[in-house]
Subunit: 407 residues, 2 copies
């Protein structure tokens, strides 16, 4: 489903009208470049070498957990090179990487990653949420960076084994989870710019608490068009390191003015693209007077979020209002806010599931977005809460759904 | 000089008409965010701790040197953290970095670098070429990524000491040099996306041969508009890793069709921006019939190359033809090629100094660029050769010039 949609938006054919692609007979499409490692030994879970830690770490109490600060006992590492393909995977004590300073990853940002979570349900079973989506996206990110191809089901099998090994690190409380970070880095020991002859796939895991400890906390955004997150023919649709470094300074700048995140606007039309590092959703009464949930389309500049896709699927299944993937200009949205047609607005991503938006700064003005008028403490509208509750219910196995995969 | 020019093209005010910046009273400019590390102990060359290698490496003969594949005996490392500022610099045996897998550099591409060369002149003196330009650009790249500020003259002093220490690695032959790679990476051990609380500045060095062993070898380019190298409001003017990873796949794709590099074209107007990882230069008879050397302006999407700046300075000083920084559309250039008005075309960068261009593929057609008709073996026009000869003459101290700094 995601892959089919992705196939229509690959960088070779940007949809935004601002850049018209040349089509020439000589032009090769993305898929015609053979993936790195074709014909070499593939990634195989059956070759796993397991070394249990002799010094299990002390765990923090749940209420002291901070996102991505503490890590579990083990890590998964799998080396690759262009002569031997994928080496035997290793599950071993968490520890430092030893890398030559000339490694490509330090100079040319050849690196991509994923984020997914392992949950403990009320019966003590370990669950993952749509992990196949993360495997597919990681494979696609590797393809974009000419990092090696890998067997997605084998990597998922290894991640499940990692979860079982570090099961004690999956907190036993609703809202808590073990955040899993698969990462692929280029480890060629050379300063040449090109496809890396070596790579390292590693997976680390960090126990995390709920994004909102007490109710929701809605965020204020600064509508930013002087920095641009992504563009046609760029890499905005791949989960690669290069999309993140450039966004740090803009975030710090708006934070100085009291806004938590950038609302990334694109071009003269001020197209809304993303919120910080999340996908953007608007629930409104559109110009035709219909109730509509709308999010920007996967046109090559938008990260194909797993939470984004889940929200669209659920809302379409509910069939209670119109659900649309369409470009949305900040001018239209500002007009709708002023006319009282905006019902709710939120960001969507793995960390928070949904992040309600209460204010946008645009063209010198602060525009206020409605929250739930019946419950000031919640700072989130009914649809935002319902989506969060439903997705969390599925994640913790309370709502039976094929998206929740028991390990 | 470079800094003054840079000041007019900072990301806060892109010049390209395609994105109009919002100006609001709340908008803070880049310079108003305090640099990381303000008020903490600065980078100090006098604190250098030197550990000489006990196992000097065997050196390759000059003719076996490959760019960035072998490294000298030592490396320079300087740690920074947001409590203690810059630690004591260490010059020590070249060796692996030990880094936690959660380090920011592996996930969010917070990394920037420089490239400069040390030359041995005929009197055996070590020379650097405009190293102050590299120090300034590195500082600016750090600023863009919220990496710590550093004292540029102290870092240059340390690099000079590194050159003296590894002097035997600077080849004693014209055309050969020691390529120096200063790099700054974010080493915070956390998955949060934000300003890094820790960083590592390291410098490694690789002996390199001349880019062209026998004469020049002109390159063929593919005019690429389906991938875009940089965008207004992006980071195309900073030397950061994030600008390089996305360009690898496009390079491999055009190489499959027999083109060495992408000629990066921007937008519907097909503005010429860069060539692979080099700046672009055209020497032509312009529409007014004037002989003119032209290169795209530093509008925020172009890397402010040291070689670019040197070529402009020299050509302006020669005062023999018009020298212009101006946007240039592929349509104009194609027309000029067809009308026989193009005299020479080349890329410019530290690795090759100049890289003559013999062919561009655009809109389904291969367009041929003149080389020197009087000398087929050279594959470079007289201006291209003269610029290369002059810059190389300065680099090796044969032409006295303030750009050449004796260590």
């Amino acid at each position: 489903m995601l892959l089919r949609r992705l196939a229509t938006v690959r960088p070779a054919a940007p949809l935004l009208s601002i850049v018209r692609p040349t089509t020439t007979p000589l032009r090769r499409m993305l898929s015609q470049v053979p993936p790195q490692g074709a014909g070499l030994p593939g990634l195989s879970a059956s070759k796993l070498i397991k070394t249990q830690t002799k010094e299990p770490k002390t765990m923090l109490p749940n209420n002291e957990l901070l996102f991505g600060k503490t890590f579990s006992d083990h890590m998964l590492t799998i080396e690759w090179d262009n002569k031997n393909g994928w080496h035997a995977p290793e599950l071993k004590p968490y520890g430092k990487l030893e890398l030559d300073p000339s490694c490509t990853v330090f100079h040319y940002a050849v690196e991509c990653f994923e984020g997914l979570k392992a949950y403990k349900d009320k019966d003590g079973k370990i669950r993952l949420f749509r992990p196949d989506m993360n495997m597919k996206r990681l494979a696609r990110s590797c393809e974009r960076l000419t990092l090696p191809a890998f067997d997605q089901s084998e990597l998922l099998e290894l991640i499940k084994e990692f979860c079982r090994t570090d099961e004690r690190w999956i907190p036993n409380e609703r809202g808590y989870s073990l955040y899993i970070r698969p990462t692929v880095i280029a480890t060629q020991e050379s300063l040449g710019v090109g496809a890396s002859s070596r790579a390292l796939l590693f997976v680390i895991a960090s126990p995390v608490g709920p994004y909102y400890k007490t109710g929701f906390a809605a965020v204020s955004l600064y509508g930013t068009d002087h920095y641009t997150r992504a563009w046609p023919g760029g890499t905005g649709d791949a989960k690669i390191g290069a999309n993140y470094a450039p966004g740090i300074r803009p975030q710090i700048e708006v934070a100085q003015d009291g806004y938590q995140q950038n609302l990334w606007l694109f071009g003269e039309e001020q197209w809304i693209t993303e919120v910080g590092t999340m996908n953007f959703f608007l629930f409104w009464k559109n110009a035709q007077g219909e109730r509509e949930l709308i999010t920007p389309p996967l046109d090559g500049t938008i990260l194909p979020g797993v939470t984004r896709d889940s929200i669209l699927s659920l809302a379409r299944q509910w069939n209670e209002f119109k659900v649309t993937e369409s470009k949305l200009s900040m001018f239209e949205v500002a007009k709708a806010i002023e006319e009282g047609r905006v019902i709710e607005m939120f960001g969507a991503g793995t960390a928070a599931i949904v992040s309600p938006i209460k204010r946008i700064h645009s063209k010198g003005k602060d525009l206020n977005i409605p929250l739930d008028p019946s419950d000031k403490a919640q700072q989130a509208g009914p649809l935002t809460r319902r989506l969060a509750d439903t997705i969390m219910g599925i994640q913790y196995g309370e709502i039976p759904h094929k998206w929740s995969v028991v390990v």
